[in-house]
């Protein structure tokens, strides 16, 4: 347990200490929120869908958590490159503890980022259906964070270079974001697209957030939670297995 704690704490310290990074990593979602939120607002309104900012704010929260958590896992690449990973790999602690500590640390950081961007959304004019919806939304923030931090750890255990990292960002993380329904409703899409979006893990996270915050559901509370829980178990197991197999 102490090993899990100290590695969790490390991730948190690294986050809190890099103030520039906090600002930088919140910049992108803020840009989406302001540029797209206000930019597409009139079109969305004309289409009879209501206030776009209300619609996309939960999606932007989901996006922030996605990027932050996947990145924390893949940041293992840097630990591999700068050598610190070796220190933990030869430690007399089961690898699974190391993996869990890292993953939970990354997930915690992602949850903080998600919380900060939610505050931004509120400042920008987003209003949840009820203030009590915010703690409930946090349940989904946590689920998204764990699912994708575990996915990040799995990927981070496998890829060894920057090319691999770019590949993952462009062909996995960005599609996960764009096909999640964070920016547009997942209704009346072409059939193929519907299938793809249904296979997107983040779609369930965004749906959960949106449902809890503004009462717009697609899959429903139980379905969202079930899918995310199963994925969390799958990715954590995969991550633990892949991490335990790392050889240098």
């Amino acid at each position: 347990m102490a090993a899990i704690y100290i590695l969790w704490l490390r991730e948190l310290k690294r986050y809190v200490r890099s103030r520039v990074q906090i600002v930088v990593s919140l910049g992108q979602p803020t840009l989406y929120l302001l540029a797209l939120g206000f930019g597409f607002g009139p079109v969305f309104q004309k289409a009879g869908q209501g206030n776009y900012l209300q619609f996309m704010a939960p999606g932007v929260v989901g996006m922030t958590v996605l990027f932050s958590s996947v990145f924390s896992g893949i940041a293992m690449l840097f630990d591999r490159q700068f050598g610190f990973l070796k220190e933990t790999l030869v430690a007399p602690v089961p690898r699974i503890y190391i993996m869990i500590g890292r993953t939970l640390g990354g997930a915690t950081v992602a949850m903080i980022q998600g919380g900060l961007i939610l505050i931004f959304c509120l400042i920008a004019g987003f209003r949840p259906q009820h203030w009590f919806a915010i703690p409930a939304a946090y349940l989904f923030v946590a689920m998204i964070a764990i699912v994708f931090a575990a996915l990040g750890t799995s990927i981070g255990s496998v890829i060894q270079d920057m090319q691999g990292f770019q590949l993952v960002m462009n062909f996995l993380v960005l599609p996960i974001f764009f096909l999640s329904g964070a920016l547009y409703p997942l209704t009346n899409l072409p059939k193929v697209m519907t299938w793809i979006t249904h296979a997107d893990p983040l779609a369930y996270g965004v749906d959960g957030l949106r449902g809890v915050l503004i009462s717009t559901w697609k899959f429903g509370f139980q379905m969202d939670l079930m899918v995310l829980t199963i994925l969390a178990v799958v990715f954590l197991s995969a991550g633990a297995w892949l991490f335990s197999r790392i050889q240098l």
Binding site: R14, G83, E87, P92, L248
Partner: protein, 266 residues
């Protein structure tokens, strides 16, 4: 303390280590020498549970490090060829993290961290981030960290690479003192023959994946009829240059550094 029998490692088609055998006794300082690409680091990785041997057996303090990983890991410390510190944490935090991972009880931890940081002349800088340290200071910190959990064996893989003569001299003095005080078995690799000559009780010379000679420095000199260990080393391993395959890794480092810079310097 270390027993290696017929150890081999094959990567795809390339055999890096070809059935080597040796023993290191308790409290001994054992130097493992060889040109670049001889298989030294691969051997250390197999001894320290980072790489699975293709065949052969390893025993550390009577344990098979691949079967009893955590028990074996508790018994050794290692200073890698490349840095393995967390540059974004302070010297003290690096020590603390190591102590926790190696199950050093809090009280012992506090005392030992202070004692080791003082020995390695880092106590005044304990609350500074490692990224502000010079190469020599980082090395000293890594070695101090290696001793923290009172390992029975300490592996040092080219610990003095890139250090100035002062730092190297001081570093070996500390290692020798701690070896004497704590009876730690030391297994080291280096390219500096004078260092091996000075600190090692026994030396093995490796080339092309096999051990070509082992014994005390005097024995090796006698065997080859040379006056210096360097002369003996060259007589045993030849004078041709060896290829190094590190360029892709160096490229990667630069890329990673640039990437981190973009994100605002993690």
């Amino acid at each position: 303390m270390i027993r290696v029998d017929n150890l081999s490692k094959t990567f795809d088609k390339f055999t890096a280590v070809k059935g080597i055998s040796f023993e290191v006794g308790q409290g001994e300082i054992f130097a493992f020498l060889g040109p670049n690409g001889a298989g030294k680091t691969t051997t250390i990785k197999m001894l320290t549970t980072l790489l699975k041997p293709t065949s052969g057996t390893v025993e550390l303090d009577g344990l098979d490090p691949w079967k009893k990983q955590n028990e074996a890991r508790q018994r050794f410390g290692i200073v890698f060829q490349d840095p393995s510190l967390d540059a974004e944490q302070t010297a003290y935090e690096n020590m603390e993290l190591h102590g926790v991972l190696y199950h050093v009880p809090r009280k012992v931890r506090t005392i030992r961290i202070e004692q080791l940081l003082k020995t390695f002349e880092l106590w005044e800088r304990k609350d500074d981030y490692v990224k502000t340290f010079s190469g020599g200071m980082k090395r000293r910190l890594e070695i101090a960290r290696g001793f923290l959990h009172t390992p029975k064996i300490l592996f040092l893989d080219e610990p003095t690479l890139g250090l100035d003569p002062q730092s190297r001299n001081q570093l070996w003095t500390h290692v020798k003192n701690l070896n004497a005080a704590e009876k730690t078995t030391v297994f080291l690799t280096t390219h500096y023959m004078d260092e091996a000559d000075r600190v090692a009780h026994r030396i093995a010379i490796m080339d092309h994946g096999t051990i070509v000679a082992q014994g005390t420095s005097a024995q090796l000199k006698e065997q080859t009829g040379k006056e210096s260990l360097e002369g003996a080393f060259l007589a045993l391993t030849g004078t041709s240059l060896r290829d190094e395959a590190a360029s892709s890794k160096d490229q990667m480092r630069q890329f990673a550094a640039a990437f981190r810079g973009n994100r605002g310097g993690r």
